[in-house]
Subunit: 396 residues, 2 copies
């Protein structure tokens, strides 16, 4: 018999994919260059040449049986060593090979992390606005995702509501900073307060509560800053990283889970993840991609275009009177819509070939997301259109 | 809190990996060329040049954002189309794009297939001898794997025991032909009888019972034959395929799930698999590998060496008086040990630097597996050693 819960999920459409589909259809009519498609978080900058060059060299020089051969379950030793050494060098935390588990990008890292610490009957808390896929990611493990409503002034954490939500079933807190969809980077103050609350809750309930830190945007931080490094503040941290955005290769599915060496069970967690893998059919990311990453571990694509785009859009939004928190990173911005119903707002924008995503599915109705991972030239052409839309529809 | 069930799994060691480790350690002592390592099912023939050439051309000519970009959840359309067209051309079944779901090799295809049709409280039946990973693969879905003991005369199916095992909780039957570890290909007669029994059981219990067919060795069949095509015999068939063995690239993790167009729910199953993916963190195999496969869909590595090796080993085993069923495919052979305790038998073989795997973990104690995916030259050198071992230890 077909399993009903997956059939039930088929009805729910992804708002983002639906809008991307509309953008593509409209593009077929008037030329995609004339559709200001801010719907999808798909990296727009080229992959660094060094990655492709490394792959070509590996294909030309390595014995193919070795190049394309099985890697051990937690990943190729050279890839795990390269990740550990890079994290240690950059963040001063004593990661070793045994703390690193290579994954098929962040989705796979998260799938393992959730299962490590939570099961049927447990709860994982996250904070709106949040990436909508977190709901199926967590709920299909059997645990339950609980969502703290947003602090819409700052998009930092709504601590009052968070403290009321923690209970003995809370096994992990899922954070995403730099954040999709707000573009906000959690401040050190936020992370310290979060850590203090969690340490207190660990004592109260006599069990570990992990921070699962989803960090695909770690390298995309603006104003010459760096995002605070979570495991420096909180021992029980599992970091989930993807090279999809930093190297612009989301289709190659490569990332890792890094267990803080100071975490409870640090010596067990990667080996447990190997067991989890057996049940969920993951067996390492592609071996050629692991090698390509290992040889270029500190490389990123030229990510500066995202900051350029952010500043252009942010300044225009402010000029047009939008309420908007300035992003500290990512390639997203999350302004307040000009009417309460952000779905209606985005619907009206579509008439101007502006594709914006309502905040509802991110747990923040009344806001909308723009993914500005598009050419700067197109961003510039979109701004007068945005202005026209706002003036004509809202008389501003 | 760490989830105990994964900690509990850490104690159980893989016999195969343990032996492979011993082989490697012994190789460090005396030179690996002097260890007759029949432990691991790791393809030994080179990847076809066309695969590497395709990858290099893609890296040199395609826009990197397109090459390395996200693929849709069920896989790249060109990869799904290439698979469907190839299966239709070769097997005469009307597969279309919507029946094909690209996966990270067979392990991932199986992880999706099990979840499509079985959940907590359900049962999936398989037949010994069987790949030991089937147990965690199934049991970690919440369903239970039930194992029919082997027909040790033929390594076809022990139908008497099978018929007694089917009940209202049976949701699927997992088969693996050509088979690891026996090398046996199920005959048409076996598959017809299996299908008849399942159709009867479907009627009796008023729900579909699927055949989940694990087919990584489909292209490695000897004597110029082809393995019977399961969906020709049974409508409710989900085929799980991997390119790991046919193209010698197990580390790249590429394969697919193919739903028989005649199956109950054929129009739903791939979309359901997309939902399952969200929960288990799978999001398509590597995009460059999907493209490389699509362009070389009917290609295989030169697999003839496996048949050469099989014949050498089979003839020697018969000459030495072993009871052994001649393999119809794969790169495995599964003879009866020369004493009841096959663990002790394999232990004694180790003294001769012959690495053989006891049949116990495959559900067939008393037998042992040889994975002859090694150089023919080494196979030839191993035969006098095998003879010496048998003569000295068993006086034959």
């Amino acid at each position: 018999m077909l399993v009903q819960k997956y059939i039930d999920m088929l009805g729910a459409k992804s708002v983002i994919r639906d809008l991307a589909g509309k953008a593509a259809a409209r593009g077929a009519e008037i030329g995609y260059e004339n559709v200001f498609d801010y719907s999808l978080g798909n990296p727009s900058v080229p992959v660094p040449d060094a990655i492709n060059e490394t792959m070509i060299r590996l294909l030309q020089t390595l014995d193919s049986r070795s190049l394309h051969g099985y890697s051990p379950n937690p990943g190729l030793p050279e890839a795990r060593d390269a990740v550990a050494a890079s994290l240690k060098r950059r963040f001063g935390i004593d990661y070793k090979r045994e703390h690193i588990f290579m994954t098929s990008a962040a989705a796979s890292a998260l799938a393992h992390a959730f299962r490590l610490v939570a099961q049927e009957g447990d709860e994982i808390i996250t904070f709106a606005p949040f990436f909508p896929e977190y709901r199926p990611y967590v709920n299909l493990t059997g645990a339950e995702l609980k969502v703290v409503s947003p602090d819409t002034e700052t998009f930092q954490i709504n601590f009052d509501e968070f403290e009321k939500m923690i209970n003995e079933k809370t096994m992990a807190v899922l954070i995403n900073t730099p954040n999709n969809p707000s573009g906000i980077v959690y401040s050190e103050e936020t992370i310290k307060r979060l850590s203090d609350i969690l340490r207190e809750a660990q004592n109260k309930y006599s069990h570990a509560i992990y921070i699962i830190s989803d960090e695909p945007y770690r390298e995309i931080v603006f104003d010459g800053k760096e995002a605070p490094v979570i495991p420096k503040f909180y021992d029980n941290t599992i970091s989930c990283y993807s090279f999809s955005k930093s190297l612009s290769l989301p289709g190659e599915r490569i990332g890792y889970m890094a267990v803080n060496p100071a975490a409870e069970g640090a010596d067990l967690l990667v080996n447990m993840a190997v067991q989890i893998s057996r049940g969920i059919g993951h067996n390492c990311p592609s071996s050629i991609m692991q090698r390509a990453i290992a040889e270029n571990i500190d490389l990123t694509a030229d990510l500066s275009v995202y900051e350029t785009n952010m500043n252009l859009i942010y300044d225009k939004l402010v000029e047009l009177g939008f309420t908007v928190v300035r992003p500290g990173g990512t390639f997203y911005i999350f302004p307040k819509a000009l009417e309460e119903d952000s779905v209606a707002f985005c619907q009206k924008a579509l008439k101007y070939d502006l594709v914006l995503v309502p905040g509802d599915s991110f747990g923040a109705p009344g806001f909308f997301r723009m993914a500005y991972c598009i050419d700067t030239e197109k961003v510039k052409r979109s701004l007068p259109v945005l202005e026209k839309f706002v003036k004509e529809e809202y008389g501003k």
